[in-house]
């Protein structure tokens, strides 16, 4: 595939105004699926590994099977709608979206079409410098996920050219809420940043609501980013592309930036944008064309006759409204104050997408500064190096445990970093890693004194200097002792002992 021409980002923004739109799919973590009593793989308590084991006749669309709406999924959807500032429809309806595809067991998807459960909302999103942006929400509707296809034998992993394809229906019927924004204008050069902040805010909300695992790398949260450009001064929106498969916060930002630069180059050269879906490639940081998409795609929607309309009572809606957690922006203001972070420190946490992790780590007993230090430091570094989400690497409880071990003196910072590495490598809990790797600080003075005496004896010139009052010379001896102890000693105690033994 020919590499797309890109225009310099600032130049692109000079010529064109970007218009954004997002469709975010949230997998709800109900115990069972949207329309059947099959276990829901998006619920963390359901350990499902083998393909096609979390299925019932309903998930397979077997003849005669019928869907029944999961009440918990409806409650979750209402809560999410409320958190997005939406109105909740007293009557909403499921519809059938008809199209043939082998991952769709019935060859139609049960979704909501012209009567979604939530509509007309607005979400406050905070940018990195604290600027607040209101993102207009068009609707949030319920639907079922499709199965998963694995294309075997082709070079691209896509269906084109594959010898055969395998279908896993475990995901078929997982409850989804699709959140659709209205066109977002005015973001200008901060469009990529806004894209990331928007998805990040949705992630914070669904986590705070406890309605989704919200792990992007697992597909719990999936973002399709619509981007179009219009020449400066033009009223009418340009032709948009829809970039799919964007499964990390960083990718959302990069994909939007890439599409702005790609489209600008085409438009500036007098070309036209094809309305299509595009696939994001994490490795190359580029998008490639998917299938053409037009507004004329005919899904032959009609009301799902197997299901009754969804009619939540006003009392239920109010009950769920009262139970809503704090809005993310308000929560951030409160936490910043409680933790005593500087603007910079707090923004660092938020912008790394680690607010929930830090908060959970603090809740598990760690000091706020320590929690911040580990998440934005060592863990973020490993996450960056391995292209993973920090949250997927280690749990807040384990981080808190490590912090406690350092506080108690059982671990040095250096040892603690090894423990973090061990936990991430899957070697077990911090205590297990400490035990297995033998990382506990040596607090037996006897062993330390022997090592100190040996080190002093082998460096008589240093011993002289110390005795002459040049205390800073002790560093060389301390280093030798630490090395001899394999790093498993408390450097402060070693220093005390060096000075003590040198004086004798």
């Amino acid at each position: 595939m020919a590499k797309a021409q890109l225009m310099d980002f600032d130049k692109a923004l000079e010529l064109f105004e970007p218009v954004l739109g997002f469709e975010v799919h949230v997998e709800l973590s109900t115990k069972t699926k949207m329309f059947s009593d099959a276990p829901n793989p998006a619920f963390s308590g359901n350990e499902i590994t083998e393909p096609n084991t979390a299925i019932t006749p309903v998930c397979l669309g077997l003849p005669g099977s019928l869907p029944v709406v999961n009440e918990q999924a409806v409650r979750y959807s209402i809560s999410l709608g409320l958190a997005l500032g939406c109105q909740i429809a007293p009557t909403s309806r499921f519809a059938r979206k008809n199209y043939f595809y082998p991952d769709l067991a019935k060859n139609y998807q049960i979704s909501q079409y012209d009567e979604p459960i939530a509509f007309e909302g607005s979400l406050e999103v905070e940018l990195e410098d604290g600027t607040l942006v209101q993102v207009p929400i068009e609707r949030a509707h319920m639907e079922e996920d499709a199965g998963k296809l694995t294309h075997v034998g082709g070079s691209t992993g896509r269906i084109q050219g594959a010898e055969y394809s395998l279908v896993d229906y475990n995901r078929a019927g997982v409850p989804l809420v699709e959140i659709v924004t209205k066109p977002i204008v005015g973001a200008e050069h901060r469009a990529p940043e806004l894209a990331k902040a928007y998805v990040s805010t949705i992630r914070d909300i669904v986590r705070a609501l406890g309605i989704s695992e919200a792990r992007m790398e697992r597909g719990n949260l999936r973002c399709d980013a619509n981007v179009s450009l219009r020449p400066r001064g033009q009223q009418q929106f340009g032709t948009r592309t829809e970039t799919k498969n964007v499964n990390s916060l960083r990718s959302v930002e990069r994909a939007v930036r890439y599409e702005i630069q790609r489209q600008a180059a085409i438009l500036a050269a007098g070309g036209t944008i094809t309305q299509e879906t595009r696939h994001w490639h994490e490795d190359t940081g580029t998008t490639s064309p998917g299938r053409p998409k037009s507004d004329a795609d005919d899904y032959r929607y009609f009301p799902e006759p197997d299901l009754l309309p969804v009619t939540p009572t006003a009392a239920l809606i109010e009950e769920l409204r009262d139970a809503l957690p704090e809005a993310p922006a308000a929560r951030r203001r409160r936490l910043k104050e409680e933790w005593g972070f500087s603007d910079l420190e707090f923004r660092d946490v938020v912008n790394s997408g680690l607010l929930v992790e830090v908060a959970d780590t603090v809740a598990a007993g760690a000091a706020p500064q320590q929690a911040r230090k580990w998440w934005t430091g060592e863990i973020a570094r490993i996450a960056n190096a391995t292209d993973a989400e920090p949250a997927s690497l280690i749990s807040p409880a384990h981080v808190a445990e490590i912090v406690a071990l350092v506080e108690s003196g059982a671990l040095t910072d250096r040892l603690a970093r090894q423990v973090v590495e061990g936990v991430i490598a899957g070697e077990g809990s911090p205590a297990e890693v400490v035990a297995a790797r033998g990382l506990e600080v040596v607090s037996d003075d006897g062993a330390l004194i022997t090592a100190v005496d040996t080190a002093l004896a082998s460096q008589p010139d240093v011993l002289e200097k110390i005795r002459d009052g040049k205390v800073q010379a002790a560093g060389a001896v301390i280093g030798a002792v630490m090395k001899a102890m394999g790093g498993k000693a408390d450097a402060a105690r070693v220093r005390e002992l060096v000075l003590e033994r040198a004086a004798q």
């Binding site: 006749p57 397979l60 669309g61 077997l62 003849p63 005669g64 099977s65 019928l66 869907p67 029944v68 709406v69 059938r96 008809n98 043939f100 082998p102 067991a105 019935k106 060859n107 139609y108 269906i159 394809s165 279908v167 004329a296 005919d298 032959r300 929607y301 009609f302 006759p305 197997d306 299901l307 009754l308």
Partner: protein
């Protein structure tokens, strides 16, 4: 007691004799299996005869001998329309695309039959995916009308109706989307009920048109239908359209009809739009005789008008194909059923499978429905049809203010000959003109024998309709009318059916 007596007995009678120990379920079941072997080569009511029937019967007998308390119909055989999923028998819905498919689950109604310890005899023939009024659209060949083997048994549930009319089963299950229980009942001289929509679970009934489909009983007497209805009816959490209400006993209602004076003062609404042009003279004659009889028994005959019934067939043939086109999309070879042996893309295989697996009537309706749902046509077709549906519901509401029960002939004609309407789909569709309104409105309807048409000596049927959720009223009134008519005839209609030639041995042709 002779085997012939056992096959001509009603389910209620068999249940009684089984409970007293006069006969065993094995004897009753064997008698019906023998009858199937003897006549089904000609009738072809069954697509599959169960290999487990005698074992099931034996277990019921053993439990009875052990003194276990058993449900009323325990040990009574029953035939099951092939539209229903059964764990131990293929379930094809009359289509090649599902040939040999054995579902991994029982339809709720089938599970309830088993829980009631009834004995499934086999699966009955039907028009493919219940699309038709004659069983001529079955992929496995038509069923013959036991009254005249040259004629259709009605459809789509011709197999269940013929099985009961030919004494191959005392009772059967059917499904009724636009008349598939009641119209076969009319032309075979049997009883059939389409319950209130939501009254009987659809879970495991292979869907034709989800908003219209309803499973119901097929029998030779109103009481037998009521007994089966009590077994299969009631709320099912697996069907979201299932009504959660508690239902009264239909059997008690039928028994009240047989003993009380249900007809006295009953306001019987004669639907003006459901007779006239296109109705066979013998059907009209029997219909008016029956109305006179009802008046004589103290009923008040009132004429009611349902002006929008005129549009019912047109609306039905938009809603049904639209829903069916979507319901039948799942037959794509990926997970079950036929797979055409072609190479190419998955779309090529899907297309070739559907081309090979669906018959012409199914294809016709898929195309109609796909068109009706297409962007730009939706409002004009599907949307308008739904509005007609609302108007028909309002017609019913108004009519039921004037009448306790509505009546019409169950079908405009007696059984027609094979091939007579095959080339003219519209003529075939009009055969359901009387039955379709009840499906569109979701109200219950019953068909029961109304005598033989003088000109051809073939059965005619009377249709009763009640307000939604008042199925019990149908059974009470139906049983009373049945008794009144049989009093006139001196015997049940079905006992006048011509004897069928019987084949000896078990090579009767049923598979």
């Amino acid at each position: 007691m002779s085997a012939a007596d056992l096959t001509r007995a009603t389910a209620a009678d068999l249940a009684h004799r089984l409970s007293t120990g006069e006969v065993s379920s094995v004897e009753v079941t064997q008698a019906h299996l023998d009858r199937i072997a003897a006549v089904d080569g000609d009738v072809h009511a069954f697509l599959h005869v169960s290999e487990h029937a005698l074992d099931t019967a034996r277990q019921v007998d053993a439990d009875r001998a052990a003194g276990l308390a058993l449900p009323e119909l325990a040990g009574v055989p029953i035939a099951i329309k092939d539209v229903l999923c059964t764990l131990d028998m293929p379930s094809t819905s009359g289509s090649k695309i599902l040939e040999g498919w054995v579902p991994p689950y029982d339809a709720t109604v089938v599970a309830r039959l088993r829980a009631a310890r009834m004995v499934p005899l086999g699966k009955t023939n039907m028009d493919e995916f219940a699309m038709g009024s004659s069983t001529e659209h079955s992929a496995y060949g038509p069923t013959k009308n036991p009254w005249d083997l040259e004629r259709i048994p009605g459809g789509s549930g011709g197999g269940s109706a013929a099985a009961v009319a030919a004494f191959e089963a005392p009772v059967a299950l059917g499904s009724d989307t636009g008349g598939s229980i009641r119209q076969p009942g009319a032309v075979t001289g049997t009883v059939g009920v389409k319950p209130t929509y939501g009254g009987v679970s659809r879970y495991g009934a292979i869907a034709l048109a989800s908003s219209l489909d309803q499973v119901g009983p097929v029998s030779r007497t109103v009481l037998d239908a009521a007994l089966v209805h009590d077994v299969i009816g009631g709320h099912d959490p697996r069907d979201a359209t299932s009504i959660p209400d508690q239902w009264p006993s239909m059997a008690e209602a039928a028994r009240r009809g047989l003993t009380g004076d249900a007809l006295k003062g009953l306001r019987v609404g004669v639907v003006r739009e459901l007779e006239g042009d296109g109705f066979q003279s013998g059907v009209k004659q029997r219909y008016h005789e029956t109305l006179d009889l009802l008046a004589g028994a103290g009923a008040e005959i009132v004429e009611v008008s349902c002006p929008h019934f005129e549009y019912a067939v047109a609306a039905y043939y938009l809603i049904l194909p639209a829903e069916a086109s979507s319901n039948l999309a799942k037959f794509d070879s990926v997970r079950f059923g036929l797979r055409a042996n072609v190479t190419g893309t998955v779309e090529d295989v899907m297309g070739a499978t559907r081309e090979a697996g669906f018959g012409p009537e199914v294809k016709r309706r898929i195309i109609l429905g796909t068109y009706a749902l297409s962007a730009g046509y939706y409002d004009a077709y599907y949307g308008s049809a739904q509005k007609v549906r609302t108007l028909i519901q309002q017609d019913f509401d108004a009519a039921f203010e004037q009448a306790d029960i509505l009546v019409s002939p169950s079908a405009p004609t007696t059984a027609f000959k094979f091939g007579e309407k095959l080339a003219d789909p519209l003529a075939m569709y009009l055969n359901d003109v009387t039955t379709i309104p009840a499906n569109l409105a979701g109200v219950p309807g019953m068909g029961l024998p109304m005598g033989l048409a003088p000109e051809d000596g073939l059965p005619t049927g009377l249709q009763l309709m009640a307000p939604a959720r008042h199925d019990a009223r149908l059974y009470e009134v139906g049983a009373a009318i049945e008794q009144l008519l049989e009093g006139q005839w001196g015997q049940p209609l079905w006992s006048q059916a011509p004897a069928l030639a019987t084949a000896l041995g078990s090579n009767g042709g049923a598979r």
